[in-house]
């Protein structure tokens, strides 16, 4: 009896192993470990159910840069999220969609998305995987219907091959497409600027940068919290209602208290993400700082952290800008892994 059980057990184990190895021949995506940079908080759990793999990442990247996914074949995600601009649209207040259309908001930089809980200026996106549905279908962005996007992917042999490599078979579904997108966008981590090197003891600030850092910590860190340089909250920073009547967070929450609140953007790579604010109305870092020093602190619904007058000398403003330059991470903007 005992021998019998052992025999069955052995048969079971060997056949199980045989089956596993046979399966591997057809389906073996390469796992990629998601590294949390030193000093960063724990990211959200986007890769918990959506296992990050080399093949999934590559598929997400291919779709990200594929203009064919738009209605007229002219616009990709990468058209408005340019790597050299830290995945914002360089020097454009608004971005161009299909048929010479314009977006209503400034394309946000795609940086450290894995540490966010809500995406977009108004936080209308509640899971990173769901984000692509919005630009893919918006009439003033890529303007394509979801079922047509799926048909386009299915018609392409390269995509069938890549879906199979990433997910085990060539079945192309919304779920798999969105998971692959998230594997790429969630991997866009920037944590190797001069600031990071200083924090790790690999570099030192020059004096004006150091002074600028101290000014930053005393005046800006409340919202642009280190090390992500955003607290991911929604705040009214005193920008008036624009020509699109864009009330920001209120659109999502339907709560008047959220009128003109927008997501605090990260300041990482901020020197490259000009122009600034949700509609790109401020064209330089100097003028952003001027916006805060010249702000009418009695404005209705102004964020409580801004109701105290901020005063900087011209020299302090220059020092602050020099500090902000240290947040530029060229290993991110030039990383070949993120390039098409």
């Amino acid at each position: 009896m005992k021998i019998n059980i052992t025999l069955y057990f052995l048969i079971f184990i060997t056949t199980a192993l045989l089956l596993i190895s046979a399966g591997k021949k057809y389906y073996s995506p390469t796992p990629v470990s998601f590294t949390v940079p030193k000093g960063f908080p724990a990211p959200n759990n986007i890769f918990l159910k959506n296992k990050l793999t080399e093949e999934g990442f590559e598929l997400g990247k291919k779709m990200f840069y594929d203009t064919r996914l738009s209605k007229d074949g002219e616009v990709s995600c990468g058209s408005c999220h340019q790597q050299f601009a830290a995945f914002a649209t360089y020097d454009h207040d608004l971005s161009h969609g299909i048929n010479n259309s314009f977006s209503n908001r400034n394309a946000p930089a795609l940086i450290n998305l894995a540490w966010m809980k809500e995406w977009h200026w108004d936080g209308g996106i509640n899971h990173l995987e769901m984000q692509p549905l919005s630009p893919l279908s918006a009439a003033n962005e890529m303007g394509e219907k979801l079922d047509t996007v799926i048909l386009k992917l299915k018609a392409d042999t390269a995509y069938r091959r890549m879906f199979k490599a990433a997910f085990g078979d060539a079945n192309i579904t919304t779920e798999r497409m969105l998971k692959a997108f998230a594997q790429f966008t969630g991997s866009l981590v920037s944590a190797d600027s001069k600031y990071d090197k200083v924090k790790r003891g690999e570099a030192v600030f020059i004096l004006p940068e150091q002074k600028g850092y101290e000014i930053f910590k005393a005046n800006c860190n409340g919202c642009h919290k280190e090390p992500l340089f955003t607290d991911n909250s929604f705040r009214n920073n005193g920008i008036a209602l624009n020509r699109f009547n864009d009330v920001g967070r209120q659109t999502i929450s339907q709560d008047k208290k959220d009128s003109l609140k927008f997501k605090v953007p990260t300041l990482r790579n901020v020197a490259l993400t000009l122009p600034y604010m949700h509609d790109g109305q401020i064209n330089s870092l100097e003028n952003v700082i001027n916006h805060y020093t010249d702000l009418d602190t009695n404005l209705m619904n102004l964020d409580p952290l801004l109701t105290k007058k901020i005063n900087f000398t011209d020299k302090e403003k220059r020092q602050l800008v020099l500090f902000l330059y240290t947040l530029t991470d060229t290993s991110f903007t030039k990383n070949k892994r993120f390039a098409p």
Binding site: Y8, I11, F12, T14, T15, L18, I46, K49, N50, G124, I125, N126, H127, L128, E129, M130, L133, S134, S137, A138, L146, D147, I150, T173, T174, E175, R176, M177, L178, K179, A182, T251, I252, Q254
Partner: protein, 235 residues
């Protein structure tokens, strides 16, 4: 060696099937009616406010379905998208205890609204997901009415929202007093769209032709959900 394995594997699978068969299930059908009309799509309908209308699209989510007994019972897993243009039959587990009624959620719970990409009933391809303000549309009525002042006299009620006081998913409970109902081949749940307009809240097409985002209007509409449902009794 491998032959023996497959024999063993076959036995295991068979064993599993037998174990599963022990759990009885019953088909539940969803019928969408309007008063005496047995179906609602592309019919000339009239509501309690003498507003003539037609419905061209009608879909809603059902989840957490279960028979209710004196003891706690488990939900039948899965989310179903009832679509008036199709036959809608789902299979739910029958508990061994005496059944008092059936309960389900119209909509999907908040976790499923923020769980990222999903397939099946929750695939965004079903056109029941808001891409700009994430969350599922739980209940969708589209059509036309001369009473509608919206563009092309359209009716477009996209009822959803899963947060705070304006959440729109609703727990529905329907008592089953006659045990003979459970002896039928299929237990049929009927939704009477007439009661959507004329429920606890009065929804006039002339006043509210379009609801396309979460908020107080959607919440008021959702308060009419429970009154729409009943168990069909054709014994």
């Amino acid at each position: 060696m491998s032959k023996l394995f497959f024999v063993l594997l076959g036995m295991v699978i068979q064993g599993c099937c037998i174990a599963q068969k022990k759990q009885l299930s019953m088909p539940i059908g969803f019928e969408n009616i309007c008063k005496e009309e047995k179906s609602i799509l592309n019919k000339n309908l009239v509501n309690a406010f003498a507003e003539n209308y037609t419905i061209t699209k009608f879909k809603y989510y059902i989840s957490n379905v279960k028979f209710v007994t004196d003891k706690k019972t488990k939900n039948t897993p899965g989310v179903y998208l009832v679509d008036a243009s199709k036959k809608n039959i789902i299979s739910i587990i029958v508990p061994s205890k005496k059944i008092n009624g059936i309960s389900f959620l119209l909509g999907v719970d908040s976790i499923l609204n923020c769980s990222g990409a999903q397939s099946g009933a929750l695939d965004p391809l079903n056109d029941m997901f808001w891409t700009w303000n994430n969350g599922y549309i739980f209940f969708k009525v589209e059509g036309n009415s001369a009473s509608s002042k919206a563009d092309l006299h359209r009716i477009e009620h996209h009822i959803g929202g899963f947060k705070g006081s304006n959440k729109t998913m609703r727990e529905i409970y329907l008592p089953i007093n006659n045990p003979a109902l459970l002896k039928q081949k299929t237990l049929v749940i009927q939704l009477d769209i007439d009661k959507y307009w004329n429920g606890i809240n009065k929804i006039r097409i002339a006043e509210t032709p379009v609801v396309a985002l979460p908020g107080i209007q959607a919440k008021n509409a959702a308060d009419n959900f429970a009154g729409m449902f009943s168990i069909k009794n054709n014994l």
